[in-house]
């Protein structure tokens, strides 16, 4: 039974992440008055990429990086309480572990970028790292806020803290900050700076092709779904119905709503410059610090 919950986690995330990506693409197309690709296009993309030739610059790190990225995000999704239900692995990690494992995913992207020897990839890596440093605290503080509310760093208590202890001004502020940082988490406009197709040609991924690129793409899609899921779980505890399957259903509904928001914001904004983005992130960090402070004083 315990294993089954983990399997459900993996199946839901791995199975539906490309679908949400497809929905985002479709919504982008709608905003741009286009027909857009079919919603299942990301699945086709992945399958096609998996069948292509593997081009490498000839070092191990390059091949290892996409696998590490994929593995790190899969590790995280195995731990999370999908359907508001804790599984057997959840108790073995606390939020600091989750933050660090998520970071490992970002590090893998950097490793891949650096080992691809390409100037653009390096520029992309430099930007990706800056983004990571500056938005990870927002994620951290969201979880820390939960931890402070629940008086414990365990994943379960921290994720469910809002549901257990109720909303407050701190939570409300953190909710807003999380939404503002969401685009940066999932790497969409205006914060797709590290990939910036028009300047540095997909940055870290420029040298990637075939199955390796597929893994990175899959990683990005799952990451995107994970952050939407995180938002839904932490800030929308009212979706809890009491039944496991119904919970998964309502959570997926919540994720869909977040995904719609992501695509609307993404399609109506130009990309920022890195130094503008950094200033923006700094504001976010200060705001989330305020939110944590408010939470500590029970406001």
């Amino acid at each position: 039974m315990d294993i089954l919950l983990i399997v459900v986690n993996v199946v839901v995330f791995l199975g539906l992440a490309p679908l949400f990506e497809g929905i985002i693409r479709k919504l982008y197309a709608k905003v741009q008055s286009r027909k857009g690709p079919p919603i299942v296009q990301p699945y086709y993309d992945l399958i096609k990429l998996l069948g292509k030739e593997r081009l490498t610059p000839g070092n191990v790190a390059f091949k290892l990086a996409p696998m590490m990225a994929f593995a790190s995000i899969v590790t995280v999704i195995m731990l999370v309480p999908l359907g508001f239900k804790v599984n057997i692995l959840t108790q073995y990690a606390d939020i600091i572990t989750v933050i660090y494992v998520l970071t490992l995913g970002g590090v893998s992207v950097l490793l891949g970028a650096l080992s691809s020897r390409n100037t653009y990839a390096m520029v992309g890596a430099s930007r990706e790292m800056i983004t990571m440093i500056m938005v990870e605290p927002v994620l951290a503080m969201t979880l820390i806020m939960g931890a402070l509310k629940a008086k414990g760093l365990a994943v379960s208590t921290s994720f469910f803290s809002v549901g257990d202890t109720g909303y407050g001004w701190g939570v409300a502020l953190m909710l807003v900050v999380f939404l503002m940082a969401l685009q940066a988490f999932v790497g969409r406009q205006p914060f797709d700076i590290s990939e910036a197709e028009i300047e540095i040609i997909e940055g870290p991924f420029i040298e990637y092709s075939g199955p390796y690129l597929a893994l990175f793409k899959y990683f990005m899609m799952i990451k995107q779904m994970f952050y939407a899921f995180l938002f839904v779980t932490v800030f929308m505890p009212f979706l809890q119905t009491g039944y496991y399957l119904a919970n998964i259903g309502t959570q997926l509904g919540g994720i869909l709503a977040v995904v719609v928001l992501i695509s609307l914001v993404g399609s109506t904004n130009p990309r920022l410059r890195i130094e503008q983005a950094v200033r923006y992130y700094a504001v976010l960090i200060l705001l989330s610090l305020t939110a944590v402070g408010l939470t500590v004083y029970g406001i």
């Binding site: 790190s72 951290a140 008086k151």
Partner: protein
């Protein structure tokens, strides 16, 4: 038994001094001198390890008065806390000595005489400063042994004038630190050669601002040594980056920890407990924690700006010491509060701090040895020039990767376990002490910056596109003599990360067995075993007042899940049944990859560097 251990301590120091006398005569035969030096160091080191095993797991000793060299009466103390540091010194000096055998070939136009005179003296000095139990005579001897020997080691490449200048600066600052501590001791009412115990007693009798002055002076003195902000920035990067790499490994890995040792001793052992004396623990805890947080943040940010690999590592040492100091500060603060729950967290915080001392010694030593290997193979420590070495030095590259992940605190490597301890205690304390949450968040944020440093360090050295090494000269993997110590240290990195509970238990034992302080009393009385559990060799903390399983770090489980996921990923890449081919780097079609269009290290993280421009950081080539 007592006398035996003290005797063997003196024996080990004697062996080291003997080495300093004998080995230089063979300095013309470089390899032989190296092997001899290693042999002496190893013998002394194993004696020290034996001592530390005894004092940690069997029985701590009390202070004893010994007369050294016939005329100098000195109080020595071998308790388990000293034993723990002795073990670190022993392991690191053996590794470093073995590494030196091959590495010193790099300096073929320098005589190795001074190196082999000073190396054992330096180690003996560090051993001495851990074990002497006064702040005046014995302390002075130990401090000067350590300082002057390390001064000559730092100055090893004396033909470069800027090195001599940096070394001189180092010497002057260390003497100032010594003076500060000495004055502190005298203000506290210590006579020449009085044991700490006596000093504490006379301090307990003092009133008014005297205790503040004493603590401030001693904290500053050891702060200089431990390289806290802003004192560390004055000497550490210059000294550590110019010393030969095995020495840098010792300086960063071990020597600055003697400062940490002094601070811990001061604020947990040198606290008088009588009715008249009141130690303002929260104030001192807050001060130390602030120093720690500032140090860890500034040090790490400055480290990120460096383009010289050894300077990067040196600045990063400042940052990592910041974590330790922060942990100590948080522990002092919480320990002196009235809440039972905070006191428990204080114990965990101090475990974290000491654990980080161990971890940092291992991975920073390892990193310095790695950058030494790179320097040996390529003759460059400029990250703007290095690059692409993973192809030529794969083993060193993998080891450097492990060390970098460790210092960045990525599970399941060693840095994670200790940083996790420090950050989680400060966050858990947050419900009562808000500023510790802020500090914890800063520490977490800084840990991301650490990551960026080491992504840069590893990326720009081993991956990325470098000078086409094969054009000028053949870059080869360094020999087994330089790989072996790195292997051992890298294995330690992993072990210390994967089974943190073992180290927790050890450190708890260390504190429980070292008598004479409120801390060890607390460790014995508060039954910490009830709150810290073993979960698959990971650590779970359950503190009353918090929700069940308040925090846990179980690297083994994470490791297993990760490994399974990695296998799935590998299967996925092979699922298409496709072939693999090597391809050229694509740069838009007109230019091909060359030295001029490779992205340089100085360009990395430009926006972030600009944002943190106010932190300074003395960037040099």
């Amino acid at each position: 038994m007592n006398s035996n251990l003290y005797g063997s301590l003196l024996l080990s120091m004697g062996i080291l001094v003997l080495s300093a006398v004998i080995v230089p005569f063979f300095s013309e035969k470089r390899k032989l001198a190296g092997w001899l030096n290693f042999a002496f160091t190893a013998v002394a080191g194993f004696i020290l390890l034996n001592i530390s095993y005894s004092v940690i797991f069997e029985r701590s000793l009390n202070t004893e008065l010994w007369t050294i060299a016939g005329f100098l009466p000195v109080y020595l103390l071998l308790d388990s806390f000293a034993g723990f540091f002795l073990a670190i010194i022993a392991v690191m000096s053996i590794m470093s000595a073995f590494y030196s055998i091959d590495y010193m070939e790099h300096y073929h136009d320098y005589s190795l005489k001074s190196y082999y005179v000073n190396y054992p003296i330096f180690i003996a000095g560090m051993v001495a400063i851990i074990t002497v139990d006064d702040l005046t005579t014995g302390f002075t001897v130990a401090w000067q042994m350590m300082t002057i020997a390390s001064y000559f080691l730092v100055k090893f490449e004396y033909k470069k004038p800027e090195n001599v200048k940096s070394a001189n600066k180092y010497l002057v600052l260390m003497e100032i630190a010594w003076l500060l501590i000495l004055v502190g001791a005298f203000v506290a009412g210590s006579g020449l050669g009085d044991s700490i115990h006596a000093v504490t007693r006379s301090l307990g009798a003092s009133t008014g601002v005297i205790p503040f002055i004493v603590y401030a002076l001693i904290f500053l003195g050891f702060g200089f040594k431990a390289a806290i902000f802003p004192f560390g920035q004055m000497w550490l990067p210059d000294a550590h980056s110019i010393a030969p790499s095995p020495i840098s490994a010792l300086l960063s890995g071990v020597m600055i920890k003697t400062g940490v040792y002094g601070i811990i001793r001061t604020f947990f052992w040198m606290i008088p407990h009588n009715e008249t004396f009141h130690f303002s623990g929260s104030l001192w805890g807050a001060i130390i924690a602030v120093f720690g947080v500032v140090t860890l943040f500034i040090g790490t940010v400055q480290s990120m700006k460096q383009s010289n690999s050894k300077r990067l590592l040196a600045f990063s040492s400042i940052g990592q010491v910041g974590y330790i100091i922060f942990g100590i500060g948080a522990a002092v603060f919480m320990f002196n509060s009235n809440s039972h729950y905070l006191k428990l967290l204080a114990l965990i915080a101090i475990i974290g701090a000491v654990y980080h001392v161990l971890n940092h010694a291992v991975f920073k030593g390892l990193l310095f040895l790695t950058s030494g290997s790179v320097l040996f193979a390529t003759d460059s420590k400029d990250l703007n020039k290095l690059g692409g070495l993973i192809k030529y030095m794969p083993v060193t590259a993998i080891i450097a990767g492990i060390a970098s992940l460790s210092i960045s605190g990525v599970p399941p490597f060693s840095g994670f376990a200790s940083k996790w301890t420090l950050i989680s205690t400060s966050l858990l304390a947050g419900n009562e002490v808000f500023f510790l949450v802020i500090f914890g968040i800063i520490a977490l944020f800084t840990s991301a910056i650490t990551l960026s440093c080491y992504v840069k360090f590893f990326g720009m050295t081993f991956t990325s596109a470098g000078t086409e090494w094969t054009v000028d000269k053949q870059v080869k993997e360094v020999g087994a003599g330089m790989l072996l110590p790195k292997f051992i240290l890298a294995a330690l990195c992993i072990v210390q990360g994967v089974i943190p509970f073992f180290y927790f238990n050890t450190i708890i034992a260390v504190f429980q067995n070292s008598g004479g302080s409120m801390l060890s009393a607390a460790f014995r009385n508060m039954e910490i075993d009830k709150y810290v559990f073993n979960t698959a060799m990971g650590v779970t903390v359950e503190v009353p007042g918090l929700s069940s399983a308040a925090s846990m770090a179980v690297p083994v489980v994470v490791l297993v899940i990760f490994a399974i996921a990695l296998c799935v990923a590998l299967l996925l890449t092979r699922s298409g049944g496709n072939t693999e081919r090597q391809a050229e780097t694509w740069l838009c079609g007109y230019q091909t990859l060359n030295n001029r269009n490779r992205y340089m290290d100085s360009s990395m993280f430009a926006a972030l560097k600009a944002m943190f421009g106010w932190t300074g950081g003395n960037v040099k080539k």
